[in-house]
């Protein structure tokens, strides 16, 4: 390697992976336009809500929290996909995960802002957001949330950006025909990356270190999210299981989301070779484990309540199982557990279509699960539950804003994939010229790992 030259590891799929970056088609523009349109409608609807007040939603007393908070929990849950796959599996040494790390991390990165947005949308006085910093009380679970989610967002950006760095440099050097501003963007973002062995060594070391940190954060964040509910003494919420259950649900829906995203990328960007079907099979095994763990949590929680038979708890229990929310509850059981488990075990192998179908069901079901955890408790207040029985019908405002949040997530994702390679190039290299750059000998914490092959 000569001075002033940048080294890029040779990736046999380089052309394939960079192809989507080069071409923004008219179909993209239509999609982006449509998504911006939906987002715009959401903004208008939100401005109306901001001016008139939260009365335009279906929330009332005692249903003080509704779809917005459900969205918050769901988006933060979705965000767990990336960190799980790129950090936890990184530490576990599951090398198969390499091609899908970025696709998964991007879900994390782009769904977190919409989780935060959901909270803002739900606030009665978003103009007083700064009060959280000015007068913040660390005794409040909401402040734990605020801290955990900001930390998660910040560290995800860093983690994502670091692992993107060598590929930005690659874009800078390879994509010479792109518009000047894009070229400049790559130049600035690449931070003068040269790809020297020292740089790769440092990068790997940093990413390993951060993976440990991220794994801790990911567990903390969703547990803390659940504590907003769990720390109150309301029946149905006040259970020690709520933290682990939320965490499991988060990783479950997150991993299912990765399947959906991968399938879309694979098809629309023709990445079949870079994203082999074996990835889906590996995810399938994980998903089977998560589906069963979900059942375990579900049984543990509901059997404890049922057997204990405490009057306040049972009001909420029956509200879920046979009451106003029964159809959602049983639909959820089918969407999250029964059908997906059948598909994952018997149909999912080597079949992307079945995997996607089941993953969509899991995600819809997990949204319903969040709803089922939050709402029934509110409809049966501890005191006088026979007198102040809550009824809640979300209004068009809430659905429009919800839709626009999902549109926003899709938009960020779609735009990102047209400007940056969505399959990490440097992490999936086959030929590493080991005599020069012995890069795959990662410094891991603990024991040194065996060289592959």
């Amino acid at each position: 390697m000569r001075a002033g030259q940048t080294y890029h590891p040779e990736n046999q799929h380089e052309e394939l992976i960079l192809a989507p970056v080069r071409a923004i088609s008219s179909r993209d523009r239509t999609l982006w336009g449509a998504l911006v349109g939906i987002l715009f409608i959401g903004v208008i609807v939100y401005i109306r809500q901001f001016i008139l007040g939260l009365g335009v939603t279906g929330m009332n007393r005692p249903i003080y929290w509704g779809v917005y908070i459900t969205n918050f929990v769901f988006f933060i849950g979705l965000a767990h996909s990336g960190t799980f796959i790129s950090a936890i599996l990184r530490l576990a040494g599951a090398d198969w995960r390499a091609p899908l790390t970025r696709a998964a991390e991007a879900i994390t990165l782009f769904s977190l802002p919409f989780g935060v947005a959901s909270i803002l949308v739900d606030m009665g006085r978003p103009d007083r957001l700064l009060n959280i910093i000015l007068y913040g009380r660390f005794q409040s679970p909401l402040l734990w949330d605020f801290t955990a989610v900001s930390l998660y967002l910040f560290s995800s950006v860093v983690f994502f950006y670091l692992s993107l760095l060598p590929d930005i440099a690659l874009c800078r050097d390879r994509l010479t025909h792109v518009p000047t501003w894009q070229q400049r963007m790559y130049q600035i973002l690449a931070l003068g990356w040269k790809g020297t062995p020292t740089q790769y060594h440092r990068l790997e070391k940093t990413l390993d270190g951060m993976a440990i940190f991220m794994s801790l954060v990911v567990v903390t964040v969703h547990t803390v999210v659940s504590w907003v509910f769990g720390m109150t003494i309301q029946p149905g919420w006040h259970t020690a299981l709520i933290g682990p259950f939320f965490l499991l649900g988060a990783i479950f829906s997150g991993t299912a989301a990765v399947v959906i995203v991968l399938a879309i990328l694979r098809k629309t960007y023709k990445l079949a070779e870079a994203l082999p079907i074996s990835l889906f099979n590996s995810l399938r095994k994980l998903l089977i484990v998560f589906t069963l763990s979900w059942l375990y949590m579900m049984v543990a929680e509901h059997l404890t309540i049922f057997y204990g038979n405490l009057p306040d708890e049972m009001e909420v229990f029956w509200q879920r199982v046979t009451g106003d929310f029964a159809w959602i509850f049983w639909l959820m059981i089918f969407l999250v557990f029964i059908i997906p488990l059948y598909i994952f075990i018997f149909k999912g192998k080597d079949s992307i279509k079945w995997m996607v179908a089941a993953s969509i069901m899991v995600n819809v079901g997990m949204w319903l699960e969040r709803y089922i955890v939050i709402l029934p408790t509110e409809t049966r207040p501890r005191l006088l539950y026979e007198l102040v029985q809550g009824k809640y019908t979300p209004t068009l405002t809430e659905w429009a804003i919800t839709l626009s949040l999902f549109a926003g997530l899709t938009l960020l994702y779609a735009v990102f994939t047209r400007f940056f390679p969505i399959v990490p190039l440097w992490e999936t290299v086959e030929k590493l010229e080991p005599e020069k750059f012995n890069l795959r000998q990662r410094p891991t914490f603990g024991r040194k790992r065996k060289e592959r092959k």
Binding site: G53, G55, M123, L142, I233, K391
Partner: protein
């Protein structure tokens, strides 16, 4: 130290809802249209509930029991615990207060309160023209505070304050007259108006006060005692 407390004798309560109305006018509680009320968005700091009767021989409707419910002003308030910005707080005399200028409207306190005494302003408060004029002019505000009957902005939580402005006024009066303030100089509007004289108010730390003595009664109980909130509103059983 003063510890403000209320005793409600259910034996004397005639369920006239006078307390609820007095509270409404004293504290400038916004009025909602019937369709909003049907959604459960009416604001009644002092709500009156028909009480369910348990077990055999459920009492016929003409004998129905009622429960009037102000804020419990818990000694260990779950709402104060969870507020992220300290907009709701327990002052040194045990009154759980709400600062409308600091509240961010997250509604964590409303879901945390097991008694449902906290209300949210879904819209900008609105009064019919005829009611607009006689709003209670009492104000409790500072540069960063807006409390008590002061008209609330949209999007904040409000609740019973034991008529905190009355306490302030009584204190000011005593000060102006150059004497010490006595704890029997102030009662909330609901106590003053109660038709059946079922409500008592005073200092629970003073063993001589009516509330302290009534609190010793065998009929005394508190709502959701097992919730560990230690309410300072004490009820007296019927019969």
């Amino acid at each position: 130290m003063t510890k403000w407390s209320m005793v409600i004798d259910l034996d004397k309560c005639v369920a006239c809802q006078g307390c609820s109305i007095a509270c409404r006018f004293e504290n400038n509680t916004p009025i909602v249209v019937p369709s909003e009320a049907a959604l459960g968005r009416s604001i009644l700091w002092n709500e009156v509930f028909p009480l369910r009767s348990e077990g055999e021989g459920a009492i016929a409707s003409d004998q129905a029991k009622f429960l009037t419910r102000p804020c419990m002003h818990c000694e260990d308030p779950p709402c104060v615990k969870v507020c992220p910005v300290g907009a709701t707080y327990k002052d040194e005399e045990g009154i759980v207060r709400q600062n409308y200028t600091r509240c961010i409207g997250c509604r964590l306190c409303t879901v945390a309160c097991p008694y449902g005494v906290r209300y949210f302003n879904w819209y900008e408060p609105d009064w019919a023209d005829s009611i607009e004029r006689p709003l209670n002019p009492d104000r409790l505000e500072g540069p960063r505070d807006l409390e008590g009957p002061s008209v609330r902005p949209q999007g904040v939580v409000e609740k019973c304050t034991f008529c905190i402005h009355r306490l302030h006024k009584a204190r000011e009066r005593a000060k102006a007259e150059g004497r010490d303030f006595r704890s029997d100089e102030y009662v909330p509007a609901c106590v003053q108006t109660c038709t059946g004289k079922a409500r008592f108010f005073g200092d629970l730390d003073d063993p001589e006060s009516t509330v302290s003595q009534l609190a010793q009664s065998r009929r005394a109980f508190r709502l959701l005692e097992d919730a560990g909130t230690h309410p300072k509103v004490i009820y007296l059983h019927e019969g």
